[in-house]
């Protein structure tokens, strides 16, 4: 499967009467987006705001971040199984408004999380301080259940990103990157002398605000399966989770999965990147056993010699991570694990809730309990009312001068366990 990504760089975002892209500026007609989103009767109101890098702006509570993309060639559309019909994606050509993002915000539960600061000390911890953000503030119809509310907000973000992505359809990309994964046997012929490598991505799959969707299927109901890595670039995996925002993958991160990209970067040179395997992180212990069995089985079946395993979340997923590590290692396959840490505010606690001796090669995305002081911002998009009660928030964290103290676990993407960021710990 072969996919071309055509990148149209965006370095500014502005409101305008007509939505369009000109000279790297994304012009947004807010009324169009509102009309589109309000077609969903579950949404009672929507506001659109813009947030640019360097501005004194805080966006919170963040629900999801989505990159505007459009399929210009090849089967299927963006986010298949949700806002496009179900069709296997990952080939042809896709255009990307690189540097732009749709951010959704809105209270679904009273302890919601996710902070994006566009400037100040917090900005360096979130990748979305560097994107030109179109922010949707969404409110539900009265009496809407939390489940339906979550669905409505999730879909609104995807639709808005589709709408903006559509602006890129006829544009000429500044750069084009090609990614190709051959069917297994052909790949072996082409790269027969290179070690066979795969990527195991663990997906959060537990309940309300703890879910992930694969082609529209709730990931807790999947058995581990195989993807061509290019499928995720067309939105095969989308996020339905945002609790403890530091180590949850927004849809944007799935679209730009950094492990996929870094594996492609050395594919055909240092190894043969054969396939991507996705698995879940269910609450039910028998599911954990089954999924880790299957993950190891698929690794073996594909003849992999090495894999990278990425976790999503803390606590019970540590158990899945260690099961995967143990079972993959028992097959004689070399594994590198990617996780973050909860070592306490002073860094002295044991970082994970589980451990196994096979986990001898671990990349750390940092200690999520690290405390940080964020300056007050001129403008808050969404509401700061929840900052005090989020996982990372302190009880009396709002100081009189407007600064707030939080653990970095409140910051969207701060300790990305797919290694999207640069943070680590020793």
């Amino acid at each position: 499967m072969r996919l071309e990504l055509g990148f149209i760089p965006i370095h500014d975002v502005q409101f305008a009467d007509t939505s369009r892209v000109e000279d790297g500026v994304l012009y947004v007609n807010a009324e169009d987006i509102k009309a589109l989103v309000l077609k969903d009767e579950h949404i009672s109101s929507v506001e659109v705001e813009l947030a640019r890098p360097g501005e004194s702006v805080r966006i919170t509570p963040v629900k999801d971040v989505v990159e505007p993309r459009v399929k210009v060639d090849g089967p299927g559309g963006m986010f298949p199984g949700t806002v496009s019909r179900v069709k296997t994606v990952g080939q042809g050509r896709t255009h990307v408004l690189k540097g732009a993002a749709v951010v959704t915000t809105g209270k679904i539960v009273g302890f919601q999380e996710g902070i994006i600061d566009m400037s100040g000390a917090g900005a360096q911890y979130t990748p979305f301080s560097k994107t030109q953000n179109v922010v949707l503030i969404l409110r539900p119809q009265d009496g809407l259940s939390a489940h339906e509310h979550e669905v409505a907000v999730r879909l609104a973000g995807l639709k808005a990103a589709m709408y903006l992505g559509e602006l890129a359809r006829e544009l000429v990309p500044e750069t084009i990157e090609t990614y190709e994964t051959l069917p297994l046997l052909e790949g072996l012929k082409q790269h027969g002398d290179l070690p066979r490598v795969g990527y195991v991505q663990m997906l959060q799959s537990q309940g309300l605000l703890h879910d992930t969707y694969v082609y529209g299927v709730d990931a807790k109901k999947i058995l581990p399966t195989i993807l061509y890595p290019t499928e995720v670039m067309d939105g095969a995996i989308i996020s339905g989770n945002c609790v403890s925002a530091c180590d949850k993958n927004p849809t944007y991160v799935h679209q730009n999965n950094p492990i996929v990209h870094e594996l492609y970067a050395r594919h055909g040179k240092d190894f043969n990147f054969c396939a991507m395997i996705i698995t879940n992180e269910n609450v039910y212990l028998a599911d954990k056993v089954r999924s880790s069995d299957w993950t190891a089985k698929l690794c073996e079946f594909l003849g992999l010699e090495g894999v990278i395993v990425s976790e999503e979340g803390f606590g019970n997923p540590d158990t899945d991570l260690m099961m995967n590590s143990r079972k993959i290692s028992e097959k004689g396959i070399k594994a590198v694990l990617l996780t973050d840490e909860y070592a306490g505010r002073d860094g002295s606690s044991q970082s994970l809730a589980d451990a196994h001796v096979s986990a001898d090669a671990v990349v750390s995305a940092g200690n999520a309990n690290q405390v940080i002081t964020l300056p007050g911002m001129d403008r808050v998009i969404g509401s700061e009312a929840y900052v005090g009660i989020i996982a990372g928030g302190w009880d009396k964290n709002k100081m009189e001068d407007g600064t707030i103290m939080v653990e970095i676990q409140a910051i969207t993407g701060a300790t990305s366990e797919v290694g999207f960021g640069y943070l680590s710990a020793r």
């Binding site: 302890f111 537990q206 609790v243 403890s244 212990l285 606590g315 158990t319 005090g388």
Partner: protein
Amino acid sequence: MLVVSNNPLVQSHLIREPQHTVAYAPVSFRDLLILVRDKVHQGHVLLTHPLSGSVKPNETLYKSIGMTQQPQAGLCVDSLLLIEEAILAHDRFPPRTREVTPQMDADFQLVDWTLLQSALLSDFARTRGASAGA
């Protein structure tokens, strides 16, 4: 499934479902974990992970944990290690004192219930499958 829970919402849902037993105890999160540990010592086997969900142990007030209805003879060591680790993990999060609004309280209950629901679905598939095979 035996559900050990301090979540009134879980109790109100499951009371209508005779295939499940709820051991409801209006106790703290930590005391609930201890309760589960004691049941592990009595031979019950854990069916769900005690650290389900991403809401941190010092944040949510509610936890519901699934175990086998009947105790088995002897201790399930995997269950014991899991619950002991969960208690240790709980203790690593410093206690918080803060006001919980009625809305937040309801939301914590709701999220805990949905986490448990996902396990009930899995349990249904498993136990029904087992009886069909018998």
